[in-house]
Symmetry: C2
Subunit: 315 residues, 2 copies
């Protein structure tokens, strides 16, 4: 236990020792160790010198453990076994047979394409434990900062000494309205075109709302309601309570026969999504694997929801 005293064993020596204890023959044990017999002999001699006692009784006809050698034998077995188990455990992580990845991301992203990526990831690596924190942008970043999450996908560009944000994709905004709404006929509606109509807002601390407010300043939409969940927005729009403006990545919420969408090309109204991770520590093998699949799995054509309304944008 002390302070790491000077033991100088190597796996080499210990395996040689175990081989000799097993075969009771320098010649055969040397072969098993892939060594010439004299080299093997020297190895054992060195080990005995280090331990300070003869571990084998030997003559040209007979090799066997001494009492002290038997004492050593059990320990050597345990050391080698522990080494192998240790290596195996790490290798399991390298081979993605074990591990854990935690992702923090915006609720507006968590229900869209992410489940597909995670499902594929889980099918490919069923032994990797997955955690998803679907929280608002600020919390996302906090999760990464504190280490609870390996990666965050959020709309905030953070560029601090500890955190690093890589552009992940851009997200254009769409008008959503109940079928038949007059705005749907207007080509390229501008912010002021929306002012006459009741508007369903997301709460002020959502990144969607913040982008929207910034793009419409100094205009104020005619807020009829403020809700927390996009699914709720959809319900309201479908019921004809009002219109709304949401990012392309959330359009899957609005797949409904009674709802139509239109791309908006307003200056500044483009949400940037970032992949955020800690600057000081690399990703674990498992996190790296998920990271790659997240990048590979992102929608190449933002603004083109799976099977729906017209309008397409590139980032």
């Amino acid at each position: 236990m002390g302070q790491l005293s000077r033991v100088r064993f190597s796996a080499h020596q210990l395996r040689a020792f175990l081989h000799l204890a097993e075969f009771r023959s320098f010649t055969r044990a040397a072969a098993a160790s892939h060594l010439s017999q004299p080299a093997f002999s020297a190895l054992i001699r060195t080990l005995e010198t280090e331990v300070g006692v003869r571990l084998f009784d030997r003559s040209t006809r007979h090799v066997d453990l001494t009492v002290e050698g038997r004492e050593f034998h059990g320990g050597a077995q345990r050391v080698i076994a522990e080494m192998e188990a240790t290596l195996a455990n790490v290798r399991q992580r390298v081979d993605l047979k074990r591990g854990r990845v935690a992702v923090a991301l915006l609720p507006s992203l968590a229900a869209g394409w992410l489940p597909d990526v995670l499902a594929a990831f889980h099918t490919e690596f069923p032994d990797i434990e997955l955690a998803v924190y679907d929280v608002l942008s600020e919390n996302c970043i906090d999760h990464v900062r504190s280490g609870r999450a390996d990666i965050a996908i959020a709309a905030t560009r953070v560029d601090t000494p500890e955190l690093r944000a890589d552009p992940f994709q851009t997200d254009d905004f769409f008008l959503v309205a109940r079928r038949g709404h007059p705005l749907l006929d207007r080509p390229n509606p501008k912010p002021r075109d929306l002012l006459p109509f009741d508007f369903i807002h997301l709460s002020r601390n959502s990144s969607v709302r913040q982008y929207l407010d910034a793009a419409t300043l100094p205009l104020q939409m005619r807020t009829v309601m403020e809700v927390d969940q996009l699914a709720t927005v959809m319900g309201m729009v479908k019921a004809g309570l009002g219109i709304s403006v949401v990012p392309a990545l959330t359009l899957f919420h609005f797949q409904h026969p009674d709802i139509e969408t239109r791309p908006l090309r307003w200056p500044g109204l483009r949400r940037s999504i970032f992949l955020i991770r800690r600057r000081d520590k690399g990703l674990s093998v498992a996190a790296q694997a998920l990271y790659l699949r997240l990048v590979a799995g992102r929608q190449p054509e933002v603004g083109a929801p799976p099977s729906a309304t017209p309008g397409k944008r590139k980032h």
Copy 2:
């Protein structure tokens, strides 16, 4: 467990790893490992290559374990601890803080000076377990042959491929008789001088009896009784039931005011005592220590019992 796969860790590497994990600084960990910093760096790099994954996240300002490194850390600690425990266990045996010695010897020797030697040995090395088999000569040898005993002290010269007998000491025989017995006045009594008197014999399978029979052939003593234990012989002699002839090393049994002893100088009547051990395996550290003390502790003047009757012989 597999068949001892190719793990190539050394205590060196693992201790370096643990130092780095502890100090989180290459410079300080290198110092703790008594290595130059670049050499230390290379050591870690080699280890990471062997394991197949980066174990530390590092920048010039920050060093910390990766997820995989933490997995490795526990194992490395256990390996080093096991190594140290193993070495410590063997060292305990070398330092005679642990171990076991088994001696087999003739009953005629087991109660004499041996207890003193064992007592001194036990005082000096209280952690060494001692075993004594006080059995007849043939059994003594068998105990050594089978490995139950490390050493035997017996009267049989064995010179087989497996066993080796070193002369230990010689043991001259003494007449023992009750005070006032007529034989005591006769100088240098011969075998035939004993014929008129009742004789207390030991049983025929004792080495004492065999020596005696050989030396008196073809004469036959006038056997009044045959007993197994020397203590019994003593009792009989003290009671005046008869005389007997016993080796010097057993004379301590006959320390009694009513008994007197006389050396006998008959040709061939000298018992040789041998130290017997296996030829193929050396003595354990503990056995070797006892061996040396047995040799050192033997009576230099055989035939001169501690504080008694006259007569002295050298071997």
